[in-house]
């Protein structure tokens, strides 16, 4: 579970962010920092679904769930805790 932030961070660095000094802080908004746009978020959601075996519903596609590493970690933890699609 502790690895969620690091795995998502690595996914973003591998796929979206260039530069030797690139870093993504735990609480930075991907939208405000322009790391992702609408199609980037779709790729991120697919990555989360595949990696953590969760099904993201349309009405869960909210910044509170996906717009930072801490939000994603909390979301995945919540989904796994209620045992949906795990």
């Amino acid at each position: 579970m502790q690895d969620i932030k690091n795995s998502v961070r690595q996914f973003l660095l591998d796929n979206f962010v260039m530069g030797a000094n690139a870093k993504i802080a735990d609480d930075v908004s991907f939208m405000k920092a322009h790391i992702l746009d609408s199609t980037g978020f779709i790729e991120l959601i697919m990555f989360i679904e595949d990696t953590y075996h969760v099904k993201v519903e349309d009405d869960e596609m909210l910044p509170e769930n996906f717009d930072s590493l801490v939000n994603i970690e909390a979301y995945v933890a919540r989904k796994n805790a209620v045992g949906i699609d795990t």
Binding site: D14, N15, F16, V17, M18, G19, M31, K32, A33, H34, L36, D37, S38, T39, G40, F41, E57, D58, D59, M61, L62, P63, D67
Partner: protein
């Protein structure tokens, strides 16, 4: 009449009315007027003069709206720049326009700090952001030019001396050019006043309207939502983007939005959402679509989803803002038409020799009216291709570069572009600009970029790459490289590695056979 007079008149008439709702905050017209006045003082004290260019590199925000009007108040020319722009292009835009000021956000510092370091024209950069942001760690060479966005409001009015007149430039909006080098579309106050009047009149916007804007203010149809809303005294609900559609729908329902302007990609995303019926959108009465045509299927589904709203199909280009609209009562009769010329404008089709064509023909669309641009900033050769003498002495008309056909009654139907510009997510993408970015990647020998049909994006960008011997680039490496050098919508969706590309007799890459 100057462009900002529309706003000043409304602020005097409806000072307490809500002008803008953004990130949960509500601003009255007098709130905005005070902020505009304050920022105008900052610009003036920073040395910005009549005719100077002021670059606005910001997300949709109250500061972006205020920045536009403050720039106009001091007689300067606003230049909206998409917040997705990367460093190399921002540097080009600042240098090409010789901008005197830059208004931006500390969250974008990783982009603008490098651009400012490579630019000498900007005398003042005004930075939005909280006090704890990183301004203090700027190199000394930049510290002197950067100041924080003013928060202490000033009441003394700013007076533009010498006074702005309506043939002065109000804005320069950069657009993709087929040469790969962005071109600055020069628009005067008269150009923008005319377009604002015509579009808001045929859409019948009024002060009871609540308009949602999810399009970037750096994109001209996003910008006009602000200009029109503040002209008629409506309320603008300004959203950063359509990245989280559910969030936007919640706000639309909560604020009882009446007007929803979009582009086909946004409507596609919307129609693919499950549970749309949960949101009360009964107040919605107008949907407007531009940038690319909606398919007949999408028109049918949109009307079924929002039976009380009327749908406007429109066509335009940055060089004159708007060209045509289809009155909603014609939608059932000719669903694929983009309509006719708007009020206070004349349009016609010409053949290759420039002769006017009768109804029922196919030819290039020509536009005449006081909304037609003054030309491309310092690009006389490009300007001459688009602006040509019109019927009256000294008058110029706009050759759109787009092929249309008319039916027997003169209604217009889009046929094709004459250049190879790709339209993806409603944004213009120059294949050359994408190719130039890919060529800068080590290991690339040849590249050709084309648009391929895509259900969501309209056209998706596809790159064909021939690699140098010994290199094995991956598709993702190419996409990531593009994402870091180009606006996100310009990055290829698909990359195909090939051993050779077809060429013409003269050795140029031939794209006609690629798909």
């Amino acid at each position: 009449m100057l462009l900002h007079d529309f706003f000043s008149d409304t602020a005097a008439r409806l000072p307490d009315k809500t002008a803008l709702i953004c990130e949960g905050q509500r601003y009255s017209y007098s709130d905005i007027a005070q902020r505009v006045n304050t920022l105008a003082h900052t610009l003036r004290e920073g040395g910005v003069k009549r005719g100077d260019r002021v670059a606005l590199f910001l997300d949709n925000s109250v500061e972006m709206a205020v920045g536009i009007y403050a720039t106009l108040m001091v007689g300067a020319v606003f230049m909206p720049i998409n917040a997705l722009t990367k460093q190399d292009k921002l540097t080009y835009l600042l240098n090409d326009s010789r901008a005197a000021a830059l208004i931006t956000d500390s969250a974008l510092q990783s982009i603008w700090a490098g651009s400012l370091a490579a630019n000498t024209s900007v005398i003042r950069a005004v930075i939005v952001g909280d006090a704890a942001s990183e301004l203090d760690v700027l190199p000394l060479s930049l510290v002197d030019r950067c100041i924080r966005y003013p928060t202490k409001l000033v009441d003394t009015p700013v007076i533009s001396e010498p006074a702005t007149i309506d043939c002065d430039l109000a804005s320069i909006i950069y657009t993709s050019g087929s040469t790969g080098e962005p071109k600055g579309v020069m628009l005067t106050h008269l150009n923008m006043v005319s377009a604002t009047r015509s579009v808001s009149s045929y859409l019948e916007l009024n002060e009871d309207d609540i308009i949602i804007c999810v399009l970037p203010l750096a994109f001209d149809y996003g910008l006009y939502q602000l200009l029109m809303s503040f002209k008629v005294g409506a309320t603008l609900v300004l959203e950063r983007s359509f990245v989280f559609p559910i969030k936007v729908l919640e706000i639309m329902s909560q604020e009882k939005v009446t007007v929803f302007p979009g582009v086909p990609t946004i409507f596609s995303l919307l129609m693919n959402l499950k549970g749309l019926e949960k949101f009360d959108l009964a107040a919605l009465r107008k949907i407007t679509n531009t940038a690319a045509a909606l398919s007949e299927e999408h028109i049918r589904r949109l009307r079924a989803l929002f039976p009380r709203a009327v749908l406007y199909s429109m066509y335009g280009l940055t060089e004159c803002k708007r060209v045509t609209y289809l009155p909603p009562d014609q939608l059932d009769i000719r669903p694929t038409s983009v309509g006719r010329g708007m009020p206070n404008e004349e349009v016609w089709l010409v053949d290759d020799a420039g002769n006017r064509l009768p109804n029922g023909s196919t030819g290039e669309l020509v536009i005449r009216g006081s909304h037609v641009m003054r030309g491309y900033w310092e690009k006389p050769a490009e300007t001459a291709k688009r602006l040509k003498p019109g019927p009256n002495p000294g008058e110029m008309v706009l050759y759109s570069g787009d092929l249309f056909r008319t039916d027997d009654e003169g209604w217009l139907y889009f046929v094709a572009r004459r250049d190879d510009i790709i339209k993806s997510r409603g944004e213009k993408v120059s294949p050359r600009e994408v190719e130039n970015a890919i060529y800068s990647l080590v290991g690339v020998q040849d590249v050709a970029v084309i648009g391929i049909p895509d259900e969501l994006l309209g056209q998706a960008i596809k790159a064909f790459i021939v690699q140098r011997d010994g290199f094995t680039l991956s598709e993702r490496e190419v996409i990531r490289h593009c994402l870091s050098h180009l606006e996100n919508f310009m990055a290829p969706k698909v990359v195909e590695f090939v051993t050779t590309l077809p060429t013409t007799d003269t050795g140029k890459i031939k794209k006609s056979g690629l798909s």
